[in-house]
């Protein structure tokens, strides 16, 4: 074949949706489009180079056929999704440090780019630290639980769609699946607390379980309520329904406040960070994790905080839609701004409140959140039956 020119290999303007193996059905996916074009550039160059050395070889042909393109594009797609989520999380981490500092009458982080590079410096520092593992831990459980805690958090953060063109999987039950993955971490924390052979960790793990049973049920009721109002568990449908009627913060004002605190508990932030209450339990279930493991756990916490805020934005603040405007040119930015606004509220709560006791959180969960979520459900039912929505 006479593919001597590089332009014969790179088909930059090919629509990835015309690819036979396009993985997203008939919905346009922006990050996949980007990664597909990236692969056209990279893979096309590689194929062209190989073809220059071994003209007419099958590898070059295979690199540029539909299946291989989709495969490699998916790998790049994964990286893009992760990096975007990672940067968003780092920004929320930076936000917390800076805003919390201002609220406490201090400056917050000061290293480069208004303190943003402190996140990078911290990452490097934890990476350089010695990775100690205590002698008497159950080593296997110790490792896989923390991997799963981090992994699940990253997974669920990646699964949050940023707009109707920026998603990983467009499930019909997207909300439920995200929530299910979101609720997995406390189990691993419980096991991890046991595996560490440390009393602080054990108590911390137990507290994580205690915490989970107190907020999980009202939270699920609230998710069900939102789905009921929208008539679907699909995130896109929920947001469309909010665009057509009104942001769900209006009919569900009780539920939205309750969900906000339940989400704070879910992401184990102050005032509900009883599993790692540093005043009495040193670092709770994270006590025995050192070096990069601890750094990743910290990062996973912020991933979870980001997810909690994103869920709030999806369920009550109309997601990436703006009332009257709709999608707009870059809905991703609209969505992220809403998410960071919710995160800002979480920072406010953290600056103002103290840590609650484990028995108090059980009380709050079952005696306050639970009735409130049921009242919220009743209101929504009335609205639904009354034909308002």
């Amino acid at each position: 074949m006479a593919y001597s020119s590089i332009l014969n290999w790179i088909d930059f303007y090919q629509n990835p949706m015309s690819n036979a193996y396009y993985p997203f059905g008939d919905i346009y996916n922006l990050p996949f489009d980007i990664s597909y074009k990236l692969w056209e550039l990279i893979g096309g160059t590689i194929a062209w180079l190989i073809n220059l050395i071994f003209p007419g070889n099958p590898v070059s042909i295979w690199l540029m056929d539909d299946a291989a393109c989709t495969l490699f594009a998916l790998i790049i797609f994964m990286l893009i999704i992760f990096i975007v989520v990672f940067v968003c999380t780092l920004i929320s981490l930076w936000m917390e440090r800076k805003f919390l500092g201002r609220m406490m009458d201090r400056r917050g982080t000061m290293v480069g780019m208004k303190g943003f590079l402190q996140c990078v410096a911290d990452g490097l520092k934890t990476f350089m630290k010695e990775n100690t593992i205590p002698g008497k831990v159950d080593k296997m459980t110790y490792m896989w639980t923390v991997s799963l805690v981090i992994g699940v958090s990253v997974l669920v953060a990646c699964m949050v769609p940023l707009s109707d063109r920026w998603f990983v999987v467009n499930y019909d039950t997207g909300l439920l699946i995200i929530m299910a993955f979101f609720a997995l971490a406390p189990f691993f924390i419980l096991v991890s607390g046991w595996a560490q052979n440390n009393k602080y960790s054990l108590i911390g793990g137990m507290r994580a379980a205690e915490l989970m049973i107190s907020y999980e049920v009202p939270m699920l009721i609230m998710i069900g309520t939102t789905a009921l109002l929208a008539g679907s568990f699909n995130i896109g449908d929920i947001i469309d329904a909010q665009y057509e009627t009104v942001w769900y913060i209006v009919p569900q004002i009780i539920g939205c406040i309750t969900f906000f605190f339940a989400a704070t508990a879910e992401s184990e932030r102050l005032p509900f960070d009883i599993a790692e209450a540093e005043a009495e339990l040193v670092e709770g279930w994270q006590t025995e994790y050192a070096g990069m493991k601890w750094g990743l756990i910290m990062l996973a916490d912020y991933f979870r905080g980001y997810v909690a805020c994103a869920m709030f934005a999806i369920m009550y603040l109309g997601g990436w839609m703006l009332p009257g405007i709709g999608d707009g040119p870059i809905p991703e930015i609209v969505f992220l701004l809403k998410t960071w606004f919710v995160f800002f509220l979480m920072i406010l709560v953290r600056a103002a409140l103290a840590r609650v006791r484990p028995d108090q959180i059980l009380n709050i969960g079952w005696k306050v959140f639970m009735p409130l979520s049921v009242i919220n459900l009743a209101i929504v039912l009335l609205l639904k039956v009354g034909g308002v929505f």
């Binding site: 919390l100 609220m103 406490m104 009458d105 201090r106 009393k199 602080y200 108590i203 102050l270 005032p271 960070d273 009883i274 209450a277 540093e278 005043a279 009495e280 339990l281 040193v282 600056a351 103002a352 409140l353 103290a354 840590r355 609650v356 006791r357 484990p358 028995d359 108090q360």
Partner: protein
Amino acid sequence: MADSLVPVKEIEEKMETDKMWVIMGPQHPFSHGLWTLKVQIDGEIVTDAEPIVGYLHRGWEKETENRTYPKVIPMADRLCYAASMTYTHLYCMTVEKALGIDIPEKAKYIRIVADEVCRIQSHLMWLAAVGTDLGNLTVFLWAMREREFFLDLNVKLCGARMTTNYPRIGGVRNDVTELFDRDILRTVDRFEKAMWDIIALMDESSIIVSRMKGVSYLTREQVANLGMTGPAMRGCGVDFDIRRDDPYDNYDKIDFEVPVLTEGDSYARYMIRIEEMFQSCDIIRQAVAKVRALGKNAPYRIKTPTKVPAGTSFCRLEDPRGESLMYLVSDGSDKPYRLKVRSPIFVNVSTSKAMCQGCRIADVPAILAQIDMCLGETDR
């Protein structure tokens, strides 16, 4: 199977649950200093507690036997970093009593001012610690910010921030500087306003109040028997303040109130200290007016002999943390024969079992924050 349906209570009785000793300290976020609290817990409930101190035992009392009387003054600063002024004051008072001398009026009022500044900054340090122990860092930083102004006052008074080395046997080291009374009144006025921010953050937050209210209840009899002193004692209904009931220097010529609460819980102890800070502001205003009225040229220090006549003497004083007492045995030489310090925290911390029993482990830091731990004077 119907037989296996044993009543739950019976199962619970048969179940043997282990009680667990949790060692908190010496490297633990809640222990402000080097000390250990062994806590026995049953689930989350504390069933027993045993404090272990002594990591910082320097033999302070023995060391003083090796030094002349004036040389002990800077050492007395090191007893407690947050309340160095009161300890130096106490030491000077004890030696003056052994010498049988009376110091000038002005020195007495200046000491009162210095003591109350010290009390406010020590209480602010405590407030900061309560904030962190409850999990709220904002209180910590705000209280530390307020404390800075009082440390600045220390600088204006004697040039040092914390280990002040200011009182002398027979008076104080130097007269107040020219603008000191203006500065101190400004600081106090400012503080009284700024304090309401912190109170709004603490007392109006139901989480913070519920963390302290009804926790660690002690009766008046228990407190008296355990020998607890200071704000912790007054929060349990004992109406006793050495400044009012056993006045030293010129506290009897100053009009102030002693806050007393009968609730006896952690929150009452917290309230007492907050109120005490406002009372200290009042005392400062009165004492500063008295210092000013005495004029610029009034003597503030008298010469004292270097040798103390043989005999024993003791003095006590209301430290920010409770009753501190010094007992001096002198043998007629220029060095103390024996100097004993009664530190309030040494006794207060020994009550931690009574305070923590029956509470939850999450409350332990919040409870023990109320005794305002300072290891320098505990271990001496």
